[in-house]
């Protein structure tokens, strides 16, 4: 098609797309996101296509491979328009039934509906599923109803209207004022006011200025940016183009990690489509504004999510951070003024421009505006992506949206903000989630990972887990991070091995303080958070490890033993399952015997025993 050469032409295009679409036509939206992909959605999609073809329903039914609806726990997920029927855990074998029952006969397939966790009642419509009712889905609203590879789907839902508004009559300064007034803060972790960052970059001196989109999400358990880039790449791109206009930048980069193949692919498709439509490139919408974007693929170093390391990597150098005493907004990529924002930050921009700063500032708390996407994972019943207004409580996220803890276990802690976030205990569950509150309790917003832990998690072991992760991801440039993490890991290993002393706890605290104050970048400076919050809120557990040589959660192998109780009727399950041959039968109806010398404490016997005859002490 011809490049759009004016705002009017974009609106005409939108009109024609809207007109062409029959809202009464049946559309099956099947999630093609990474979560569902892992659960076999490709098969489901193919089966739908085959079934629809076989029944000659092509004229009446559209199959759309959509972005992620967020409820990953229940994939493969599909919604059927226009009735908004929500089917979950759909497998290939269910497809024929869905087609014949729902698409042809208009009936509901009861067993594929979501069962309410509390009542067991089946829920028909997406908007009635408890997972969604407390969410405020603004950024994720259209992902599950659009094909991310089709720019027309984005335009249909009002896409690029914000860009048209900006280019059609807003001065760059006005755009910056709008973003400033909205109160939008960076979603990558730091929470720096976005408008102020743009303003500094705009006023910085330099022949070329760059805008950069940080899609180098690397926190364990986090997939917010991934999902946005996979499921709604145009929203990110539109934000970037608006930002580039406000800043006065002709060139931008999307830095996306190569481990996100679908994000790389969909970002590329979006760039190409936007260029073809005249929404990107030279003379955007006939306004005279030029902006080009390139994709740069990251090699997977966690530290490259740090802005200066990311820029070094973009330049083709080793991805190592540098001191930010001179801000990247003044001297960034190739020493030129550069404005880097996270995927989610960029995606918020079109919303602000379309609905106004006042609307945006009306959502959230005094210091944190808008919504935030969290990836809710760990010991929670509804794993997935949730978008909630700032200020919602942790309890609402974990228990109302997340459905609480599986297996009747007790909640213990939630870690927010990625591997260098802190653990938040149960008595702080009513905390209003925003940038400042999370920092106040020793954690952080980070990019939005939320890992729930239950009573079977040992908090010393969890601290060790995250320190181990960071140890593997430290770039090694500065001393406190490289050597500090190494020593911290040794201290934690001593403690979990039952060889720790009170002096180790004191040393860990001192080391944390030095790492916090003297590390070169945020990775080292926030690495102590898991240790510090674990010590702050779960000190008892540390003391039990050190003084009593006991792991209260029964996790640390050196401190536990497995024992067979009198309940054991010699069924033989554990004897077969034991990988070390450490369990031997003692004769009929007599409890089996576990050889402690041979036992490697893998817990297999405990897992396979149906009678609870294996005890952990």
């Amino acid at each position: 098609m011809n490049r759009l050469s004016s705002v009017k032409e974009l609106e005409e295009l939108r009109k024609s797309i809207v007109q062409k679409r029959d809202v009464k036509k049946t559309v099956v939206n099947i999630c093609g996101g990474t979560g569902c992909l892992a659960l076999g959605c490709t098969d489901v999609i193919q089966a739908f296509k085959d079934e629809v073809d076989a029944r000659n329903l092509g004229d009446q039914v559209d199959i759309r491979v959509s972005g992620c609806p967020g409820f990953c726990e229940r994939g493969t997920i599909l919604t059927i328009e226009p009735q908004n029927i929500f089917y979950q855990r759909v497998k290939r074998k269910d497809v024929a039934e869905i087609v014949s029952q729902t698409l042809v006969d208009g009936k509901i397939v009861e067993r594929l509906l979501y069962p309410d966790l509390a009542t067991g009642k089946r829920v028909v419509h997406e908007n009635e599923v408890p997972f969604y009712t407390k969410q405020k889905r603004l950024l994720l609203a259209n992902s599950s109803r659009s094909d991310p590879e089709n720019i027309d789907d984005y335009v249909y839902f009002g896409g690029y209207a914000a860009l048209a508004k900006v280019l059609g009559g807003m001065k760059p300064e006005e755009v910056i004022e709008e973003v400033k007034a909205s109160g939008l803060r960076g979603r990558g972790g730091g929470g720096f006011p976005t408008g102020r960052k743009w303003e500094t970059t705009r006023h910085a001196e330099g022949d070329i200025k760059y805008v950069i989109c940080n899609c180098d999400e690397g926190d364990p358990g986090a997939f917010m940016d991934r999902s946005l880039m996979e499921g709604n790449p145009h929203s990110v791109l539109e934000g970037m183009i608006i930002g580039a206009y406000a800043i006065g930048s002709p060139e931008g980069y999307i830095y996306v990690r190569n481990e996100y193949p679908m994000a790389v692919k969909n970002a590329g498709i979006a760039l190409k489509a936007a260029e073809e439509y005249g929404l990107l490139g030279d003379n955007i919408l006939g306004s005279g504004f030029n902006f080009h974007v390139k994709i740069s693929r990251g090699g997977g170093a966690f530290v490259c999510g740090e802005s200066t390391a990311l820029m070094a990597s973009l330049e083709g150098k080793v991805g190592e951070p540098r001191a930010k005493y001179i801000h990247t907004s003044e001297k960034g990529l190739w020493d030129r003024p550069s404005n880097l924002n996270n995927v989610e930050t960029w995606a918020n921009v079109p919303l602000i421009i379309n609905n106004g700063a006042k609307w945006f500032a009306g959502i959230g708390t005094a210091g944190s505006k808008g919504t935030k996407i969290f990836s809710l994972v760990g010991k929670v019943r509804n794993t997935g992506l949730v978008e909630v207004p700032m200020g919602i409580s942790l309890r609402e996220i974990i228990f109302d949206i997340g459905g609480g803890i599986p297996g009747n276990k007790k909640f213990k802690a939630v870690q927010t903000g990625g591997p260098s976030g802190g653990f938040i205990p149960e008595n702080l569950l009513d905390l209003k989630v925003d940038f400042d509150e999370l920092t106040r309790v020793g954690s952080m917003m980070g990019s939005g990972a939320m890992i729930v832990m239950d009573e079977t998690n040992c908090m010393v072991d969890m601290a060790k887990y995250f320190i181990t992760f960071l140890l593997g991801e430290s770039c090694g440039k500065c001393l406190p991070c490289r050597e500090g993490l190494k020593q911290m890991h040794r201290i934690l290993t001593r403690i979990t091995d039952g060889e720790g002393t009170m002096a180790d706890i004191e040393l860990a605290e001192k080391l944390c303080s030095t790492m916090l104050d003297t590390s070169l970048c945020g990775l080292g400076a926030s690495a102590p958070n898991p240790v510090l919050t674990s010590l702050r809120y779960f000190r008892d557990e540390w003391l039990a490890h050190v003084n009593e040589k006991r792991c209260p959660a029964k996790v640390c192998k050196a401190l536990i033993t497995y024992n067979i109780t009198e309940k054991c009727p010699n069924c033989g399950l554990c004897v077969k399952a034991c990988p070390e041959g450490a369990i031997a039968a003692q004769g009929k109806k007599k409890p089996v015997l576990l050889d402690q010398e041979k036992c490697i404490k893998c817990g297999t016997c405990y897992d396979v025993c149906n009678l609870g005859a294996v005890q952990v002490k």
């Binding site: 440039k477 993490l485 080391l511 003297t518 070169l520």
Partner: protein, 243 residues
């Protein structure tokens, strides 16, 4: 010019000067290991941490080797907290390189007496603290980039590619000269220069002076000098004394 105070003493320095250099102009001691006037600042050792308060009242700790002076900046180079962090940092280094005389001396100077962490095997890191002075010197002064930092995080080491012989190394010895912990050792014997890096050793042939017959420079360095200066190789046949 920029006016600031360091430990209560006012000083005026050129814009762009680093806080460390301003403090040194006042003869104030700030320990450093990765800083050298001949190469660009890097900020790896963190020992030069100081406490600053900006004109707007923001108080924090920064590495003085990388922090440019500002008008009205108040710098404190030896608060108790700064001293505590420096002691912890030198402890971390001592655990890494327990036999380094330079580190032990500095630990005494900073008041870090009892070891906090178990010593690592001295053969693991051979006194290399990864300050990157050698690699910066090789890149910025010699402009050969024969050595670099390899691997990441705790596996990071300094070395030449694949810890093998290097085509780029001209055996000039700048790296050994600039190393703050003597982790690179150079010995000249029987017409050979031996360079012991933490993880490999290389040998280079030395050239004889055509007049006095004494070995005076590695042949590769002479070739490099000839190339850089545009003079013929013969120009470097005589040593400095016989010239």
């Amino acid at each position: 010019m920029v006016k600031l105070t360091v430990d209560g003493r006012p000083i005026e320095v050129k814009e762009g000067t680093m806080v460390l250099d301003a403090a040194r102009r006042l003869n104030i001691y700030i320990p450093t290991l990765c800083n050298h006037e001949s190469v660009s600042p890097y900020g790896a050792c963190r020992l030069c941490m100081v406490d600053i308060t900006t004109k707007s009242g923001r108080n924090r700790m920064v590495t003085s080797c990388l922090y440019p002076v500002e008008d009205g900046l108040v710098v404190k180079t030896s608060t108790e907290k700064v001293a505590e962090h420096r002691r912890m940092l030198i402890q971390l280094l001592l655990a890494r390189c327990p036999e380094s005389k330079e580190l032990k001396d500095m630990a005494v100077k900073l008041g870090a007496h009892d070891l906090l962490f178990p010593k690592e095997d001295p053969k693991t890191h051979h006194n290399c603290i990864l300050c990157a002075l050698c690699t910066r010197a090789c890149a910025e002064i010699v402009q050969q980039s024969a050595i670099s930092l390899v691997n990441r995080g705790v596996d990071r080491e300094m070395g030449i590619p694949f810890f093998d012989n290097s085509d780029l190394c001209i055996a000039c010895g700048t790296c050994a000269q600039i190393c703050p912990t003597n982790a690179i050792i150079i010995t000249d014997t029987k017409g050979k220069r031996r360079i012991e890096m933490p993880h490999n050793t290389m040998e280079f042939e030395l050239a004889k002076c055509s007049v006095c017959g004494r070995y005076w420079l590695p042949k590769k360095q002479i070739a490099w000098m000839a190339k850089k200066s545009g003079q013929p190789i013969e120009f470097f046949a005589k040593c400095n004394n016989c010239r």
